[in-house]
């Protein structure tokens, strides 16, 4: 008497059994049906639709990106309920704009859609945060901020995630960032050693960004009692 229905891979109701696509062309081919729907719904906000290696890239106007992503998430006919990635690309050709990229996946309709927003060179690196739609965007956007310096407007806790917070050399994945960093090795080591790990990874850290209420009861009691980690 199980109340769960076993869903096997490939048996989503109303859809043909998926097959591995063969002979996918580099450019062109069948676009994701969501692209046409977006075009009809948002018109000029959809700048361009490319199909590359069978995947659909939709270039959208940055000021409408949040609206479009929210609609893609909420609309039952689209139902993009999973955000796989948020990242950015800077090209070595300095004329090309920096791209902010969202990878959306619809489990229900078995679709993959890549949204791109363009930021012209010289403009402030800023994009809307989709944290309000996908909670999973939290760390993805923090990583993008850490590596590219993109400010995600509306992110609740935008700070470095991979590099330590006092890191002063800039944003490593930008094209103007030298591979070895900007400072001398001795200076880099000095700055790294000055970072106090226990100040960064304490229990109190967990209460940042209003996560305090989500902590287990015993941990909350310990923090409240003023207990700290370390020596």
């Amino acid at each position: 008497m199980s109340e769960f229905t076993v869903i096997r891979a490939g048996s989503a109701p109303g859809l043909p059994v998926p097959a591995t696509p063969r002979n996918v062309p580099h450019r062109g081919g069948e676009a994701n049906p969501s692209a046409a729907t977006l075009k009809a719904k948002f018109g000029d906000a959809i700048v361009r639709v490319d199909v590359v290696w069978g995947e659909t890239n939709v270039v959208v106007a940055m000021d409408k990106a949040l609206e479009i992503i929210t609609w893609l998430h909420d609309e039952p006919t689209e139902s993009y309920e999973y955000l796989s990635d948020v990242t950015a690309v800077e090209f070595r050709d300095r004329g090309l704009p920096i791209e902010i990229i969202w990878h959306l996946r619809s489990l229900k309709h078995r679709r993959f859609l890549r949204l791109k927003g363009l930021i012209e060179k010289g403009r402030p690196l800023s994009a809307p945060s989709v944290y309000g739609v996908y909670k999973g965007a939290d760390w993805l956007e923090r990583e993008c901020y850490d590596m590219f310096g993109v400010t995600f407007e509306g992110h609740p806790d935008l700070r470095r995630i991979l590099l330590w917070e006092q890191y002063a050399e800039g944003y490593p994945l930008r094209k103007d960032f030298p591979l070895r960093g900007r400072f001398s090795r001795a200076e880099q080591l000095e700055q790294a050693l000055a970072a106090n790990p226990e100040a960064r990874y304490s229990m109190e850290e967990l209460s940042v960004a209003d996560a305090y209420a989500d902590l287990p009861q015993d941990m909350r009691a310990r923090i409240k009692g003023g207990e700290s980690t370390g020596e």
């Binding site: 991979l162 590099l163 330590w164 050399e169 490593p172 094209k175 103007d176 960032f177 030298p178 591979l179 070895r180 960093g181 001398s184 090795r185 001795a186 200076e187 880099q188 080591l189 000095e190 700055q191 790294a192 050693l193 000055a194 970072a195 106090n196 790990p197």
Partner: protein, 207 residues
């Protein structure tokens, strides 16, 4: 560390104040023999070298043959820090703290190319050799080193432990510069971290 000459045969000096009398040298030998054959490693495994370290510790290569019966995952109950893998700058203060938590006498083995020199990771994120962070006794080349190489390094370390003198100063705790926390001069760190070989054309700092 200079090896102090053993007293000439037949000459027995009982004067402990000399530092190399018969009793102290024999006692040194006994203590060193005990230490060399009961080194407890503290594995600091950050990358693929740690896999080779695990193989070394497992039954086929059996690190226990060398008295390394017990892996000390607490630095306070360990004698040898085996740094297996690359150390990014973010881990530098952690490695330094772990080293300072280990009680004397203590030794460090830098296992593999990345721990010893930064290896192929000549980037903004990776420390170019852990000897810029803590003093290292034995370097093991290899990417990653075979367990035989690590065992050879451990045997070299045992030989070094046998040469220790209680009156010597070779095992003094390192004292980092209070301001910069570096324990070797910055110019030497830059020298140690210089680009070499294939990594020279990789920088495009001028851009």
């Amino acid at each position: 560390m200079g090896l102090i000459d053993a007293p000439a045969p037949g000459v027995v000096s009982l004067d402990a104040g000399q530092g190399d009398g018969w009793i102290t040298t024999r006692l040194d030998f006994l203590v060193n023999w005990g230490r060399a054959n009961s080194l407890w490693p503290m594995p600091f495994g950050t990358a693929c070298c740690a896999i080779e370290f695990m193989a070394t510790a497992a039954s086929k290569f059996d690190l226990a043959r060398f008295g390394m019966e017990r892996m000390g995952f607490s630095p306070r109950q360990a004698d040898v820090l085996i740094c297996a893998g690359r150390v990014p700058f973010k881990l530098a203060p952690v490695l330094r703290r772990i080293w300072q938590q280990m009680p004397q006498p203590k030794w460090a083995i830098s296992m593999g190319a990345c721990a010893s020199t930064g290896g192929m990771f000549d980037t903004y994120a990776v420390a170019q050799g852990i000897d810029t962070i803590i003093p290292v006794d034995v370097y093991v080349p290899g990417c990653p080193p075979r367990p035989e190489a690590l065992i050879y390094a451990i045997m070299m370390l045992q030989k070094q432990v046998m040469k220790e003198r209680m009156s010597g100063t070779s095992r003094d705790e390192m004292t980092p510069d209070p301001l910069s926390q570096l324990y070797i001069p910055p110019s030497r760190i830059d020298k140690l971290s210089e680009a070499f070989g294939n990594s020279i054309p990789q920088t495009r700092s001028g851009q």
